[in-house]
Each structure stands twice: as C-alpha cells, then as structure tokens.
Symmetry: C2
Subunit: 138 residues, 2 copies
C-alpha cells in the first residue's frame, strides 16, 4: 500500500464513487458551496492544492475556476467521523464561488411571510454570469 492509497482508502465513497466536499472560506468561515469529488478529483486536489471536483452533469473532472477563473486554493482538508464527507478550507479567488455570480451558493434563505414560508434571495450578484463565462479567464 502506497502512502497515497493509505490516506485515500480512509474515504468512504458512495455507490457512484463520489464523496460530498464542502468548501468553506478560510477567512470568513462562510460556507461557499458543496460539490462532489471522485477519487481522482480528491487526489488531484491534494496534489495541486487547488479544488478539483467531479461534475455529475458533465461526467468529468471539474477544475473549479477552469472557465470562470474563480479558482479555490486549498488551506486544509478535513474528513468527518464516518469518512464520507470532506470539508475544504479555501481561499476563493475572485470572491465568487457560485455560477450565478454570487459569493456563495447558499443565497436563498427560508423566510416567513404573511403568505407562508418562501425562499428569499439575500445575496447580491457581484458579477454578471455573462461576463464571467466569456471563455476568457480574466
């Protein structure tokens, strides 16, 4: 058993070979997003020090920021008690983690209104996605 397979073997991937990875801003503590990794994505994240996820829709590795330039530099990787969830402490380059152009993906809050509960958008779009996904990494 190599050193790499040793730490990687501690991870409990699901039936699709994936594990959830939560990205948290290293400075503010804001939970930025949750995405999925396969073993290759985990290994590449550790090797490069940049977050690499697995896109379930595109069925391939997704090097975070490959289109937007909004990469995530890894400070710390943690594993939970059951070995089936990862927590990444990251620096979010560009200050935008979400493809909608917001700081983080959790921009809707469940609020009570006179008409009942509703998901209220609480966070502004910092940059128009049309300007983010131009094919150029600015």
């Amino acid at each position: 058993m190599t050193a790499e397979s040793s730490w990687l073997d501690a991870l409990a991937f699901d039936q699709d070979g994936l594990i959830p990875a939560i990205a948290q801003d290293a400075q503010s503590g804001t939970v930025l997003m949750m995405a999925w990794m396969n073993a290759e994505a985990v290994a590449e994240t550790v090797r490069t020090g940049q977050a690499v996820y697995y896109s379930r829709s595109r069925k391939r590795l997704w090097r975070k920021g490959e289109e937007s330039g909004h990469t995530q530099t890894i400070h710390e990787i943690r594993l939970d008690c059951d070995g089936d969830v990862l927590l990444l402490s990251v620096t979010q380059h560009g200050g935008i983690a979400c493809h909608t152009g917001r700081e983080h993906c959790f921009f809707r809050r469940l609020d009570a209104t006179p008409d009942g509960k509703t998901w209220q958008v609480t966070d502004p779009v910092l940059k128009d996605p049309a300007d983010i996904y131009t094919g150029k990494k600015s």
Copy 2:
C-alpha cells in the same frame, strides 16, 4: 398548492428522496456535520425549529439529540443555487455535534508527515460517548 408544498417543492431530492444538510454553528461558524434529510425531515425541522435528519443506516427520522440530548436549534435555513443542498445555521446544545463526543465531525485533518500524508486527529473528545449514550438525556 399549499404554502408548505410550495417552498418544499423548490428542493431537489436525490434518487433516494434525500438532500444533504450541512449544520454550521451560528456563533462560531464551525461546520459541525453533514447529514441527510428526506422531505418529512425537512418539514419537521421547519415546523419544530429543531434539526431532524433522516438516518440512512436506521432508515428512519433521526431527531438530532434524541439519545444524546445534543439537540440543534435552527436559526436559519439556506438552499443552494441548484436546490440540492441545505445549509442550517444552528445552536448546538451541549457543544457536541459528533457521536464521538467531539464538537464537530470534521476532527481529522490531512497532514503531511515524513512518511506521507495522513489523517491527523485535531480535536479532543469533550465527553466519553459511553457517558453520552446512556439512554438518559442529561
């Protein structure tokens, strides 16, 4: 469509009818744990203001703290851009979220050592699980 089904319909449950829920400490910002909810768990969490998950191993609702007394009071519930992850802001009663007796479940950090990378336990056990799970809620 009732008001309840309206906000609940925004959630994209997976093929097993589940959605991941990340619990974050409302004060410290520490990510405490990630667990799963089905629609019933989400609805009961919102109705009671206490975190209710779905235990995949026990295949039933898991009212967090039902055995340990370490309940989680909900301050805020957020939904991500794809509607398939929840973020809960909570007060963790007893200061222990993990069944191992630690503050949070992410108590292992990937560290580099001379022998290669290894998961290092970074957080102390605050209370012996044998004393937590006595069947009595103290």
